[in-house]
């Protein structure tokens, strides 16, 4: 149980730790009931390069509902040089995404019901589909795609197991939100 005062609660039920580091919050969307723990770093400032004159709605990081970002994890939009132009690209997290302590996320898309363990590295532009469990210490190579109902482990991460049909129930985080 954490102290009430540690978190700032938003209107939609997000609980953001006062000790977390959120940069460029105008480019970050939280879906509601998301918990961001202490020492998390979310780099909303690394947004897509918009040509001068255009005023596109720039969302760097979109996070769904009931997500849980554990202590000292880092969310950082992926970047690459395309046609000679270096740019960051938006990152999207679905609902019920758990990110373990000390993990670094540079994925392009993470689906719903995804559990990422401790000290993982999710490489640039990787795509993780729904219902996936990523074991502690996994390193997912850049540009990889993890299909649904997979359990991923290793260095680089490979699918080691298929999750059962109940994966969505197993990875649901509603109870976790209530416990904070």
């Amino acid at each position: 149980m954490s102290q009430k005062s540690e978190y700032i609660q938003t209107e939609t039920g997000n609980k953001v730790s006062r000790k977390s580091l959120i940069i460029g919050s105008q480019n970050i969307i939280l879906g509601g009931k998301t918990i961001i723990q202490a020492d998390c770093c979310i780099r909303g400032d690394l947004r897509r390069l918009v040509p001068q004159g255009q005023n596109a709605a720039a969302v760097a990081i979109a996070v769904g509902r009931y997500c849980f970002l554990s202590k000292s994890c880092l969310l950082r939009p992926p970047s690459k040089t395309y046609r000679g132009q270096f740019s960051y690209y938006p990152m999207k997290l679905g609902d019920h995404v758990f990110v373990g302590e000390g993990s670094v996320i540079e994925a392009a898309v993470i689906g719903s019901y995804v559990n990422i363990g401790k000290n993982c590295v999710i490489g640039k532009f990787s795509i993780i589909k729904d219902c996936v469990r990523i074991e502690d210490g996994t390193v997912i190579a850049p540009n990889s795609v993890i299909p649904s109902f997979s359990s991923v482990e290793g260095h680089p991460g490979i699918v080691v197991e298929e999750l059962p049909e109940t994966a969505a129930e197993m990875l649901e985080l509603k109870e976790l939100y209530k416990s904070i």
């Binding site: 040089t81 046609r83 000679g84 490489g123 640039k124 589909k129 729904d130 219902c131 390193v139 190579a141 850049p142 540009n143 990889s144 795609v145 993890i146 299909p147 649904s148 109902f149 997979s150 680089p156 490979i158 699918v159 059962p164 049909e165 109940t166 994966a167 969505a168 129930e169 197993m170 209530k178």
Partner: protein, 612 residues
Amino acid sequence: MSSFPYIHISCPCHEDRPQTFTIDSARPISPSKSPSKHDFNFLPTDPHTPTKRRTLLGGFTPSVSFDGGNLGLDLDDDEELTDEDDENNFDPRDPRSAFSLFPIENLLYCEDCHQIRCPRCVQEEIVCWYCPSCLFEVPSSTVKSDGNRCTRNCYLCPVCTALLAVIPVNHSSGHSDHPTGPFNLFCSHCHWTTSDLIPPIQLEKPTSISAQLSKLTHSPQDTEFIRLKQHYAQQLGNAQEDFTNSPAALTRLMGLYTGLGSGSGGHGGSRKGRGVKKLEMKEVDRPREVNEEQELEIVERMAVEGLEATTTAKQRLTQPHEPRFLSDLTPTAVLLRTKRSKRCRACRHILVKPESKVQTTRFRIRLVALNYIPSLTIKRLDSTITWNNLTPHKTHRFLLTVTNPLFDPISVSLLTPRRTPGTAFASRVTILCPEFEVGANTDVWDDALMSTKPAAATPSGVSTPPVAGSFASFSKDPKMSTVYEQKMNYTSVVIEVVPPEIPDTRETRIRDERLLEIPIYVRVEFEAEVDRDDEEGGGGKPSHSGASGGAVQRERVEYSYWCVVGVGRVGDPVEGVVASEPNTPVRTPVGTPVKAPRTPAAMRTPLRQVRS
């Protein structure tokens, strides 16, 4: 096994073999009679009695008399009693058990057999093939003709198995709008590229990589495989022509095999019939040639380049030409994955049917055990307990929670052998309130009710007086032997475990004696509407039959299963905590019926029984 605590449920399939020969030899139990009735003869038959009984339990009268009368409480009897227990109880240490224990999430439930189905007792059928990388569906005809690998652009690094990316060889050309070739396949994990190969592979186009690569990396093994495949496909075609239509098919088939038994005898064209000249290719019989010069060359190269340049067994075996050197590895195409539906092996009904679209995670039919049988969870009551280091001789209290997924209230009996079976170092286990009711699940999730924290627990006004409060205050409270906490669709009771002192010898380590697993027999009884059975195959949950018109008949249903609670590991003895009392907890017998039922008998009948 997973980290502590875990709860695994035993699928009845593990008793499939033994029950064929133990039924008659053992205690006679008439099949018509409910085994649980027999074994739990102390259980009330009146559905309302459990509530009554719980109040009685406060005075300990019925159970004690039962225990004392039938089984005795003396330590002298204990040995005998343990023996008997071993025979009757589910033994989690039995090698056979290992195959049938699954977490409830992995289990399915057949509505027709009324049985739990584990991954071992379902049959799988492939719904569709897809590439796990590009997530494109591959038609089964393509799988048959081109093999089970992605035929698009998905390739894996042969060194580290990460996905390869296509990049232009000349980086400086990145400034132009359309990078021009040649292209490399590049692994962004270990930075291997196809230019590391000898000779380097470079692609002209960034698309249709499979077509380009198959031209560039064609080993003699591939050619041989294709020839073999063609040959046998032809054989198969001939054989089908011959044997399916001809009336003398069987004789000819038999003659074919007996005649060919001695090998080359079949090669002559003397036998009548068209396609049976030879079954095997001539090359198959030929001994594999080893080119001595080539081998020497390899040895020399190893001497020069060192072991770092050679492949690991895993890298070598994933390639058809089994290369010895890293520079001979070629990119491997991504293996396809499948979506599969699952059928019950006994009645062939479909238990799981995923939607055929690759990217969806929904199911058309999904009969998972989680929606049918109550699930157990275990928590520490005393937060000072460390799962991996349980103190011997100390009474550890855990909270066992039974959650009801059904839309009918259920009454639950939990039974456990008083001493954990299958080991010389048995722990004492007591479930303080083994019989209780669990409320019905509701369609509408009342978040407000669910979110009340255990600390603030107030009796929800049902039949029982749950005890709330700090641990210290109620540790002496006799009410502890009642239900600890009761909420909407779950009930928690206290389980006490006294682990023994286990010496740290080689033998105990091999047998992993310190692992403390408690088998618990869960028996569930409830009243269900009869028309429930008509809704089979509807998928999803055993639905709340709201639209059940007409006469609603109620029937009593009971079922039972064994589960194993992995509580933790027994630690080293702690100074000051010694086996002072007779190893029995103070209130031992309250609810722990020493006699749990014979497993085969209990499992012989369907999990769910309907009593008139």
